[in-house]
C-alpha cells in the first residue's frame, strides 16, 4: 500500500472576494467582523466629530438642527450595533474555538449568514440619511411620538434594526451552541476561561432581549403605517409603554455591550500581573448576578415619566444593587494585580485603564440611580458623560486591550509597542478632556441632544470639542498598528507573552489551520 501524508497541495483554497463571501471558517468570519467593526467605528466617529464641530461654539454654525439630530441618532446606532456588538462577536469567533478546543464554531453556515446581514443592514441605515426627510432623528431610543412622525428614514431604520437583531440572535445562538456542545473533553464549565463565561452570559442576554426590541420597532412600524395605536393616546395607546418596552431591552443591552469586555480584561490582567485571576468563581457568579439584575432595573431610565412612588423606589434599590456584583469584579481585578510582578505593555495599560475609568462611569451611574437626584441629571450632559465612561472606557478600551493582546496570535507578528503606547496615551488623555467636562455641563443644566446652547456652557464645550477631535484622529494610529502587524514585523512565538494561561497560547502564531500541536490538556 502507499501513503502520502502532509502533501502540500493547497487544493481548493478559495481566492479573492468569493473566499470572504462564502467562507464558513471561524477565523475568516472573525476577521470580517473585526474589520467591519473598525470601519463602523471610524464612520460613527466621523459623525461624532460633526456633533463636536457644531457644539464647539454656541449658535448654529456647521449643520442645520435637523441634520444634527440625525447625526446624534445615527452615531449612537452605528456605534452600538455596528462597532461594539460586531467587534465582540469578532473576538468570539476568533477565540472561542481556540479557547475551548473545538475545530470551528458549531454552525458555520449560519455564522456566515449572521455576518453578511450586517453590512447590508448598516448600509440601509446610512442610506436613510439621503432619502427625503433624512434619517432617523429621534435619538437612538426612537421614542414615539417623534419617531412615529419621522419620514421614510425611520422605516429604513426599523428595517435595519430588524436585520441587525436577526444577525445578533443568530450569532448568539451559534456562540451558545458552540460553548455548550463543542468543548474538548475535560473542559468543564468551571474550567472555562472567563472570556468564554462572559460570552455565554452575553449570548443569553441577547437571546432574551433582542426579540423585545424587534417587537417594539414592529409596533412603531404598524403605528406609522397600519393604523394601530400602540403608542398613540388618541387611539387608546400610551407612549410611555414604548419606554418600558424599549428599556426592558435597553438595559440588558448595556450589559451586552460591557460583559465581553470584562471577559477580555479578565484574560489580560492575570497575564501581565503574572498571577492567576483572583476569585474566578466569584467572577462567574458576579457576571451571572449582573445579568439577572439587568432585567429588573430598566425603569431607571425613566424616573421622570411619573411612575408610582413604589415603582420609583423599587427601581432605585434594584439599580443600586448592581453596584455589588460590579464591585466584586473590580476588587477581584485589583486583587489580581496586588503584589503581582506587573509589566505595562499596551494590552495591560488598556486593561488597567478599563478598570479605572469604567469605575468612574459606574459611580456616576450610582449617582443617577438615586431617583430624586436623577430628576436633576436626567436628559442632561451628565448622562452623556456617564455612558461614555462606561461604554467607551468599558467596552471600547476593553476591546483595544484584546486587540493588542491577541493581535500577535492573529497575524503572527508583534505589533509596534511604541505606536501602541502613543495610541494608548493619546486616547486616554483625549477621552478625559472630551468627556470629563461634560459632567460639569450636566450639573450646570446643559440638556443633551441639542445643537445650540446658552453662553455659560461655552468654555467646557470648547475643551470637549478639542478633546473630541484629538480622540477621533488618534484612532488612526490603531489602523497603522494593525496594518503594520499584518504586513510583517518581529515574529511572535506561540506563547507571545510570558506564561499566559489558556489553550489559545498552545497554538503557533499566526493561529494556523492546525489547531493543536499537542493534545490540549485542560488544567
Amino acid at each position: 500500500m502507499t501513503t502520502t501524508v502532509a502533501d502540500h497541495h493547497h487544493d481548493e483554497v478559495p481566492k479573492g472576494i468569493t473566499r470572504w463571501l462564502f467562507t464558513t471558517n471561524h477565523k475568516d468570519i472573525g476577521t470580517l467582523y473585526l474589520w467591519f467593526s473598525f470601519i463602523m467605528f471610524l464612520v460613527g466617529g466621523a459623525m461624532a466629530l460633526v456633533i463636536r464641530a457644531e457644539l464647539f461654539q454656541p449658535g448654529l454654525q456647521v449643520v442645520d438642527p435637523h441634520f444634527y439630530n440625525q447625526m446624534v441618532t445615527v452615531h449612537a446606532l452605528i456605534m452600538i450595533f455596528g462597532a461594539i456588538m460586531p467587534g465582540f462577536v469578532g473576538f468570539a469567533n476568533w477565540m472561542i474555538p481556540m479557547m475551548i478546543g473545538a475545530p470551528d464554531m458549531a454552525l458555520p453556515r449560519m455564522n456566515n449568514w449572521s455576518f453578511w446581514l450586517l453590512p447590508f443592514a448598516t448600509s440601509l441605515l446610512i442610506l436613510s440619511l439621503f432619502v427625503p426627510g433624512g434619517g432617523p432623528a429621534a435619538g437612538w431610543t426612537i421614542y414615539p411620538p417623534l419617531s412615529v412622525q419621522g419620514g421614510m428614514g425611520v422605516d429604513l431604520t426599523i428595517f435595519t434594526i430588524h436585520i441587525l437583531g436577526m444577525s445578533s440572535i443568530l450569532g448568539a445562538i451559534n456562540i451558545i451552541a458552540t460553548i455548550m456542545n463543542m468543548r474538548a473533553p475535560g473542559m468543564t464549565l468551571m474550567k472555562m476561561p472567563l472570556f468564554i463565561w462572559t460570552w455565554v452570559i452575553t449570548a443569553f442576554l441577547l437571546i432574551a432581549a433582542m426579540p423585545v426590541l424587534a417587537g417594539a420597532v414592529t409596533m412603531l412600524l404598524t403605528d406609522r403605517h397600519f393604523g394601530t395605536a400602540f403608542f398613540d393616546p388618541a387611539g387608546g395607546g400610551d407612549p410611555v409603554m414604548f419606554q418600558h418596552i424599549f428599556w426592558f431591552f435597553g438595559h440588558p443591552e448595556e450589559y451586552i455591550l460591557i460583559l465581553p469586555a470584562f471577559g477580555i480584561i479578565s484574560q489580560v490582567i492575570p497575564t501581565f500581573a503574572r498571577k492567576p485571576l483572583f476569585g474566578y468563581t466569584s467572577m462567574v457568579f458576579a457576571t451571572a448576578g449582573i445579568a439577572f439584575l439587568s432585567f429588573i432595573v430598566w425603569a431607571h431610565h425613566m424616573y421622570t415619566v411619573g411612575m408610582p412612588l413604589s415603582g420609583e423606589l423599587f427601581f432605585m434599590y434594584s439599580t443600586m444593587l448592581i453596584a455589588i456584583p460590579t464591585g466584586v469584579k473590580i476588587f477581584n481585578w485589583m486583587a489580581t494585580m496586588w503584589r503581582g510582578s506587573m509589566t505595562f505593555e499596551t494590552p495591560m495599560l488598556y486593561a488597567i485603564a478599563t478598570v479605572a475609568l469604567f469605575t468612574v462611569g459606574g459611580l456616576t451611574g450610582l449617582m443617577m440611580a438615586i431617583t430624586p437626584a436623577d430628576f436633576q441629571y436626567h436628559d442632561t450632559y451628565f448622562i452623556v458623560a456617564h455612558f461614555h465612561y462606561v461604554i467607551f472606557c468599558g467596552s471600547v478600551l476593553g476591546m483595544f486591550a484584546g486587540v493588542y493582546y491577541w493581535l500577535p496570535k492573529w497575524t503572527g507578528h508583534m505589533y509596534d509597542e511604541t505606536l501602541g503606547k502613543w495610541h494608548f496615551w493619546l486616547t486616554i488623555i483625549a477621552f478625559n478632556v472630551t468627556f470629563f467636562p461634560q459632567h460639569f455641563l450636566g450639573f450646570a443644566g446643559m440638556p443633551r441632544r441639542i445643537p445650540d446652547y446658552s453662553l455659560q456652557f461655552a468654555e467646557f464645550n470648547v475643551i470637549s470639542s478639542i478633546g473630541g477631535f484629538v480622540l477621533g484622529f488618534s484612532q488612526l494610529i490603531l489602523l497603522v498598528v494593525v496594518i503594520k502587524a499584518i504586513r510583517g514585523g518581529k515574529k511572535a512565538s506561540a506563547e507571545v507573552w510570558e506564561n499566559p494561561e489558556g489553550l489559545e497560547w498552545t497554538v503557533p502564531s499566526p493561529a494556523p489551520y492546525h489547531t493543536f500541536a499537542t493534545a490540549p490538556e485542560v488544567k
Binding site: 500500500m1 502507499t2 501513503t3 502520502t4 501524508v5 502532509a6 502533501d7 502540500h8 497541495h9 493547497h10 487544493d11 483554497v13 471558517n25 477565523k27 475568516d28 478546543g101 473545538a102 475545530p103 470551528d104 458549531a106 454552525l107 440572535i169 443568530l170 445562538i173 451559534n174 451558545i176 451552541a177 455548550m180 456542545n181 463543542m182 468543548r183 474538548a184 473533553p185 473542559m187 437571546i207 432574551a208 433582542m210 426579540p211 423585545v212 424587534a214 417587537g215 417594539a216 414592529t218 409596533m219 404598524t222 400602540f230 409603554m241 418600558h244 418596552i245 426592558f248 493561529a511 494556523p512 489551520y513 492546525h514 489547531t515 493543536f516 500541536a517 499537542t518 493534545a519 490540549p520
Partner: protein, 155 residues
C-alpha cells in the same frame, strides 16, 4: 474523538471517528427549556402591557434555538468508520449528506492529508485510484494529523 481498535493478530483494525459533543440530550432539553421559560416570562409581561407583537418574535426565536440544538444532536450521531478485514478496507460514513460506504483493496489504499493552505483546516482523504473519501472533518487539526498517522501506520 477517534477510537482505534486493533485485532489480536495486529493486522485487522477498526477506526471510528465521532464529533465531540459536550452536551447530552438531557442537557439540550434543559437549555432549550430554560430559554423557553425565560421567553415565556418576558412574553407574559409584554402581554400585560398590551405589547403582543413581541410574542411572535420570541416564539420564532425559541424555535430557532431548538432547531440549532437539534441539528447538533443529529450531528452527534455522525461518524466515520474505517474497518480493515483481511485484504479489504471498508469505509462507511454518516454525514451531512446521508450515509456513504465503499470497499477498497488494502494494498491499493492510500491515505492523504491535503494541507488546507493559509489558515484553513487540512483534509484527511482515504481511497485509491483517484477516488477518495474525506474522513475526520469533525476533528481538530491536531487530532486529524494524529489520526492520519495512526491510519497510515496501520495500513
Amino acid at each position: 474523538m477517534t477510537f482505534f481498535q486493533t485485532a489480536p493478530d495486529g493486522r485487522d483494525f477498526r477506526l471510528l471517528i465521532r464529533p465531540d459533543c459536550s452536551l447530552s440530550l438531557r442537557g439540550v432539553k434543559v437549555v432549550v427549556l430554560t430559554f423557553a421559560l425565560v421567553a415565556a416570562l418576558i412574553g407574559a409581561y409584554m402581554l400585560t402591557l398590551g405589547a403582543w407583537p413581541v410574542l411572535p418574535f420570541l416564539g420564532l426565536e425559541i424555535a430557532v434555538v431548538a432547531a440549532a440544538f437539534l441539528i447538533l444532536q443529529r450531528r452527534a450521531r455522525f461518524y466515520d468508520l474505517v474497518e480493515a478485514k483481511g485484504d479489504d478496507v471498508c469505509l462507511s460514513q454518516r454525514g451531512r449528506h446521508g450515509e456513504k460506504s465503499g470497499k477498497l483493496n488494502r494494498y491499493w489504499t492510500q491515505v492523504r492529508l491535503a494541507a488546507g493552505g493559509h489558515w484553513y483546516p487540512s483534509r484527511l482523504l482515504v481511497g485509491s485510484h483517484g477516488n477518495y473519501m474525506e474522513i475526520g472533518a469533525a476533528l481538530t487539526e491536531e487530532d486529524r494529523i494524529k489520526t492520519a498517522k495512526a491510519l497510515q501506520r496501520a495500513l
